[in-house]
Symmetry: C2
Subunit: 574 residues, 2 copies
């Protein structure tokens, strides 16, 4: 062997030092998970959950920015496929790790393992959840927290932290829920029986009063499956609370009795600090806020979540804000704090508009876009079934993942005609039920030029029933987007561009579309792959409320074969 020449030696030395730095500061966080059915009593009523490693919620992943997260996911369900989506992680360069069945991979078959490997590239509050059928509703979710890289600092400080996943819970299992959604006559899933804070709720447990009548016999202060979650704090200290909403349906409002909340982060991006009494959080959203333990430390306080945006039929979810050394299980003597009225949309909109980017953090919004797509959200009939449609097309996911179909040119896997770019804004009256309620199913997609700046205008409308319009929190995979504006009524393309906030729009991955309103967002199509964009209300997505974008497919490398084998990808088999 030749000895290396000085220039090569220097180069190798630099490489070696870089590797050392990588070793010193960036780690691989390795997890081995099994998904299985599990008896559990999330609200003191036993159900069968889709769970990870025998517990609920799923284990919290904790990493530092720059770390690589590896999750070996083994499916131990007897007959169901499974995938897990890492909500808010952009998967730059690893689109096959996005965990979206029919889009980025085949569902993992029973007894198979898929290895999710991706970079935790940005500090923030994220979560993960099932993205196949309605398995998220069945309990398949958990937190994913990315701290700042070692040596880096957050632009705020705190003494302690609590990480809380919020969810809603039904006693009717997901098979029955899905069957109802696909039945004639249609059967809606209804409102949840319970709201869960950190996976714990109390159905008919009468936490608040001491009444005994009709009380669920399984309620038990020491039942660690459903006893209220306790946040034990020391008087005078400041805590960071991270909350993530994995609800199937419910828009929530989070409140801590007697304490103000200082919002500092939303969806993995810093926001301009905002002091509030309570936080609106829609399914798919996350927040960090600071709370100071500055109240009378001789008693405990309620932490509560309430349903907003739909006429609620679910009692509040409750947890305990406990001042040490008060007994953690000691119930506050007060009634749980009230959230704003469920239908106070003015409050919700004012709140949403106050969420803006923290000055000096994050990329600036491009001032112009290359393309604008208007996405009208309607409720329709298809063959007598009730569906949701976008520009009159209700998404039916194909058997073959889009990304594989595109990369391997499997031309029979989906409809290659362009998905509809708009609806008829001049003729569609969003304030009334559709004049023609019929829509069509489809599976075509939007092809985006790589690096194009794209505007999306989500347009809400009246549902099939008069005088009703629903909330839809929309989530984009593979990217953050800037929230440019929320508006009322029909978006006016000749006027409403002026309302866009191009100064300090918040970067987000999930944004709310208010009833009878529109929401405009902007993103850069700079992440090669196929990406879902959909309403994060799980039964709405199941009813077709989503679209798919593709960009930079020609840049994609080799896929993990364990994510193939379904649909048209079988073509190579012997």
């Amino acid at each position: 062997m030749d000895s290396c020449r000085p220039s090569i030696c220097s180069f190798l030395l630099i490489l070696f030092l870089l590797a050392l730095v990588q070793t010193a500061f960036c780690r691989t966080r390795h997890y081995k998970w099994q998904v299985n059915y599990l008896f559990w009593s999330p609200d003191c009523v036993e159900s069968v959950l889709v769970a990870i490693n025998g517990g609920f919620p799923g284990p919290t992943i904790r990493a530092e920015a720059g770390d690589t997260i590896v999750v070996e996911l083994e499916n131990k369900l007897p007959t169901e496929g499974v995938v897990i989506h890492w909500h808010g992680i952009r998967q730059r360069g690893t689109p096959w790790a996005d965990g979206t069945a029919s889009v980025t991979q085949c569902a993992i078959n029973p007894d198979e393992t898929y290895v999710y490997k991706f970079l935790a590239d940005k500090p923030g509050t994220y979560f993960y959840h099932g993205h196949y059928g309605m398995q998220r509703s069945a309990g398949l979710y958990g937190l994913l927290i990315v701290d700042v890289a070692k040596g880096e600092k957050e632009p705020f400080s705190y003494d302690g932290e609590f990480d809380i996943i919020l969810s809603d819970w039904w006693h009717k299992n997901i098979y029955e829920q899905m069957t109802g959604l696909y039945s004639k006559p249609f059967r809606w899933i209804g409102e949840p029986q319970s709201l869960l804070i950190a996976g714990r709720g109390q159905y008919n447990c009468s936490l608040v009063s001491a009444e005994a009548g009709g009380i669920n016999a399984n309620c038990n202060k020491t039942n660690q499956q459903c006893a209220p979650f306790v946040l034990s704090v020391e008087s005078g200290k400041t805590y960071r609370l991270r909350i993530a909403s994995a609800t199937a349906l419910s828009s929530l409002n989070f409140i801590i009795e007697g304490h103000k909340l200082l919002l500092v982060e939303a969806g993995g991006n810093y926001i301009e600090p905002l002091e509030v009494e309570n936080v609106d959080i829609y399914s798919g959203q996350t927040y960090s806020f600071l709370v100071k333990a500055d109240q009378d430390p001789s008693k405990n306080y309620w932490v509560a979540v309430n349903v907003r945006g739909r006429r609620p039929n679910t009692p509040p979810g409750l947890a305990i804000f406990n001042y040490i050394p008060t007994r953690p299980t000691s119930r506050p003597s007060t009634a749980p704090p009230a959230s704003p009225a469920w239908n106070d949309f003015a409050y919700s909109k004012a709140f949403a508009n106050k969420i803006v980017a923290r000055d000096g953090f994050g990329p600036r919004v491009p001032l112009k876009s290359d393309r604008a797509i208007v996405l009208l959200n309607t409720q329709n009939y298809i063959d007598g079934y009730i569906k949701w449609a976008i520009n009159n097309v209700s998404l039916v996911l194909p058997a073959t993942p889009y990304m594989a179909s595109l990369k391997y040119k499997l031309s029979n896997a989906f409809d290659h005609r362009a998905a509809p770019e708009t609806y008829s804004p001049n003729s569609y009256d969003i304030m009334r039920p559709p004049s023609n309620p019929n829509a069509a199913t489809g599976n075509s997609i939007y092809s985006l030029d790589f690096n194009a700046t794209v505007d999306l205008v989500l347009q809400n409308a009246n549902i099939l029933m008069p005088n009703s319009s629903d909330i839809h929190p929309w989530h984009l995979h593979g990217h953050d987007f800037w929230v440019l504006a929320y508006g009322n009524g029909a978006f006016n393309p000749s006027e409403d561009f002026r309302k866009f906030n191009l100064r300090n729009p918040a970067l987000q991955n999930t944004v709310v579309l208010f009833p009878y309103g529109w929401t405009a967002i902007r993103f850069v199509a700079d992440n090669a792959g196929a990406w879902a964009f959909h309403c994060h209300i799980e039964p709405h997505l199941h009813m077709g409320m989503g679209v798919v974008f593709a960009e930079g497919i020609e840049k994609l490398g080799k896929f993990p074969i364990s994510g193939l084998g379904c649909g048209e990808t079988k073509r190579w088999l012997p």
Copy 2:
């Protein structure tokens, strides 16, 4: 083009005539099925079923011997795979159509279609059912009737026919059932809530008495989902009844009030006609019998099924034997007829021993075998879970179908060491709980020489609980077998061969193993493929009670690729 020469012309002419004959006498029976969840009230209580084409039980397939049956099965379940096994069809030359997940094919993914194409080569009473997880228990079953070929005659005659599938039904769904079986502590599924005749039962409907107290409000004589099945007969005529038991657990006894039954066919083979008062039928078995409408025609009679072999906790399943023109819904005034006591095993054994081949029909049993395998059935603990084991190994099905692993030499797909040929007959006390209750999981198989004659001796034993031994009906895929003998206690290899019936043993595909007994069968391994042999009690199979045979793999042709794509078969993917 050359004109054809005389010899070639004759040959082509013969081919053409053969094709004409085929066209004239043998048809292709083509079915298009979708599997979906369905709200249904099989016993007047609503459940979600796994159903075919929006009905329950599945459609009856009817063909003539020599016909080809083609079923295009599309899986419309949102997240579950599916397969269908054609129980009793030997699948000679079409092992990939056997429909056994992990053995002959990958489960069909959601939104995929698999085409089952096979020959109905032999007249008889068959059925089909799900063979993945516990989907049979969820309602995925129906009848498959093969009449004699046109121009052929049965060796008996009748004026009319009724075809009836029997099953048992739980209100607890299969996800909960499966979770219980895989839990610590173990939760048994318990006894069924209802027995179904032709898919109809009546939970808490008080068919028999007129009491109103506590009666299920959904019971309704005109509810075609759960109104009792009616067999309308004309006085003096003779009817063929075909019954098939798709029960998940229950051993049944079928009886018609006041009428004698003449058994003529069992499991697709003619048997020596046998007049009985009632019929024991185990899960996986089918029978034909003739019944003459020879009773007082001015009233109706009960048809009943009762649980035998387990302490029953389920009311009888009931149907109406209706003499035209008596009103079909008119309830008999009598109490439903009693079956023999549940634990009268002497009766059961005497009945089983009377089932022998009809003289002059079917192949003769080979007088010698090339190989004998003793299969000890035990209940065990594995890592604290309760399992069933065969020769101390509890079957855990692999992610890759055995048949593909064998044909394509996928060496990592399962354990290629030989499965255990025997247990320790001298040291194992079958009358007591296992002295060492621990067993192991495994997935190794028995490789059989092609065309070898193989004896299997099923040996029962005491379960984990003292003084208990269960019934196990064992079903062989891909073959019929001769039932050589039933014995009590431990099989004695030096003595008990003499008890084998080599004169007129019945050919069957499912045979019962009595508590504390043994059952000996013989078959010829002349059907290339990989074949399951297992207890037909679905939760028992789910707990590991099965083995797999492979024979003639080198003779297998090309597999349908739609049955691949799972596990190690992904190796060809890009």
